[in-house]
Amino acid sequence: MAIFIQIIVYASLILYIAASVLYFAGYRSEKNGMLKAASAIAIVGCIINFLALIIRTILSGRLPLSSGYEFILSFAFLTSLLYLIFEWKNKAKNAGGIVMIIAALLILAVIIIAGGQLDEVSPLMPALKSPWLTVHVLTAALAYASFALAAGLAIIQIRKIKQGNTAQDSKIYRVVAIGFMLLSFSIILGAIWAEQAWGAYWTWDPKEVWALVTWIIYAIYLHLHRRKTWRGARACWMVIAGFIIVLFTFFGVNFLFSGMHSYADSIDPLFHMNEQFL
């Protein structure tokens, strides 16, 4: 099983990279056949990524949302899935190259963090044993994926704006709005859960602070978007900056700070002991 899930994860990495290259090449050379092939490979990559999630679910007996790399694996899957839905609904393939690179980098992060332990299952710590885990983390993953898609669209849009085209602006707005709604849900559901598990709905833990910073950036984007001066390049940079903060909220906070959300090590954050005695 260990080898099998590793092969699957590596396969999705290769497929995402291949799709990205084809999207870029097809977009450059304006070859429709190449773009179609890119979409097909992206769909296969997405399905393979989903397969990895299913295997994790079977192995652990719970949804793949409880460890850091499981989250990234879900995040990558939802990013490519949302992109494919967007592509299908809007018949627009130009952001494919960027979004698939983002998905590929996420899978790469999974391999770096948990390369050899993809089949390992460790029991949940007491604080995580709650039905709130699923809704809190799933809404977060969906929000992150929406922001990834929005950032991909924004990067393409910046180049187009230089050519005087702002057609995709309202689409980016929509994707950000959906992401913002999901992020709001995730924060509130997390707060309700924290109240139950830790006895405080908000403790200014680093994860909470950075989730709030993310929320504020997108809230400002949604408010300013009503003004004409804030459409176009400025708005796009904000969407990109927002996604960089999203990545920091996940990677930076998880690996740099210790707080209630530090699940990377095996020590239960609820029951940390004072090391000062030694």
Binding site: S122, P123, M125, P126, A127, K129, S130, S170, Y173, R174, A177, I178, F180, M181, S184, F185, I188, A191, I192, E195, Q196, A197, W198, G199, A200, Y201, W202, W204, P206, V209, W210, L212, V213, I216, I217, A219, I220, H223, L224, R226, F257, S266, I267, D268, L270, F271, M273, N274, E275, F277, L278
Partner: protein, 337 residues
């Protein structure tokens, strides 16, 4: 009068609100990195949150007044109306959440209490309350996974009020106890170690020492500090022990002389450890205790209602996003706000 109006306009404007949001975001991001812990209780930060509350409250009131004047709510129910109601709901939701936070900072209480197995603690010693409520720990239990890591912590509690047991409940992480305005959460746990300082002729008096407490050795300058009790000690893991199974139980202690650390050891129960010339220490056993977080938060109901309004509002406002054209019209209509 003109100046007052101008000040009101500035305080209640969306621009001010957005500036406050940017400030709060910047300050909390920098604050969390530069001053971890404690920073969010500072006056300046609280002031920023209060200003945001004031701004959003006035901003929302302005909006309601404007809509009432323009008979907006009498319009036919359509996407535009649903969206506007959503926007109102979500902003009032945030206002309520902030009000809940203010209520907590004035009237809320949150304390950590330790109760040894079999003992009773009067909560009135830890928090202000009209009628004293006591908690008795009947039993504390740690359930472990197959690898020895903790799976769940259980405190079997009795709530005693007016001399009578009003309720019995086993609480665990994610399953707090709620009694009247008080909530009790499983927060942590620990062990108190039954310890004796002995010599060849004197068997010593047993003392109950909590982790972090010290035992003085009569006739010696040395003291013995209890670091931790490990139910299943693995010498290869040092202090990163994670097994909670009953196994090779040890008490990890350190020996000090004039505040200088002389050494660290892991003792078995009942064995005599020589600390100084013919002066020994013996650990006889442990008493588990639970650590509860006891909280009373009259603002919680505001936060909860605010959260639900906020989530509903966000969904209404963003799911029903009007098409670009319509939205432009709507913006012109509401431009005055």
């Amino acid at each position: 009068m003109v100046a007052a109006k101008e000040i009101y306009r500035i305080i209640s404007s969306m621009k001010t609100g957005l500036c406050l949001l940017v400030l709060i975001g910047l300050v909390s991001a920098v604050g969390s990195m530069v001053f971890p812990g404690g920073f969010f209780n500072t006056f300046v930060f609280k002031l920023l949150l209060l200003l945001l509350l004031l701004n959003m409250m006035l901003c929302t009131i302005n909006r309601v007044v404007f809509f009432k004047k323009s008979n907006f709510f009498k319009r036919k129910i359509g996407k535009g109306l649903i969206r506007q109601i959503g926007v109102l709901l979500l902003h009032s939701g945030i206002v309520l959440i902030l009000i809940g936070g203010v209520v907590y900072s004035f009237y809320g209480q949150s304390e950590q209490i330790e109760i040894l197995s079999g003992e009773t603690t009067n909560l009135a010693y830890a928090m202000v309350m009209d009628k004293p409520i006591s908690l008795k720990l009947n039993d504390f239990k740690i359930e472990t996974n197959h690898d020895g890591t903790p799976s769940q912590y259980y405190s079997d509690l009795s709530v005693i009020e007016g001399g009578k047991t009003q309720r019995k409940q086993v609480i665990s992480v994610n399953h707090p106890l709620k009694y009247k305005h008080i909530k009790a959460y499983q927060d942590s746990y620990g062990y108190a170690v039954r310890s004796r300082a002995v010599t060849n002729t004197d068997n010593g008096q047993e003392q109950l020492l909590y982790e972090g407490e010290s035992l003085t050795i009569p006739g010696s300058k040395r003291t013995v500090k209890i670091y931790r009790y490990f139910p299943d000690f693995d010498p290869t893991k040092g202090m990163a022990q994670n097994s909670m199974k009953q196994g090779d139980a040890r008490v990890v202690y350190s020996v000090y002389e004039n505040k200088k650390l002389l050494g660290v050891g892991a003792a078995k129960f009942g064995s005599k450890i020589e600390i100084d010339d013919h002066k020994y220490v013996v650990f006889d056993g442990v008493e588990p205790f639970t650590v509860l977080k006891v909280k009373s938060d009259p603002g919680l109901i505001f936060v909860l209602i605010g959260s639900l309004m906020f989530m509903l509002g966000v969904s209404m406002a963003l799911i029903y996003m009007p098409a670009r054209k319509k939205q432009n019209q709507l913006q012109q209509n509401t431009a005055v706000v």
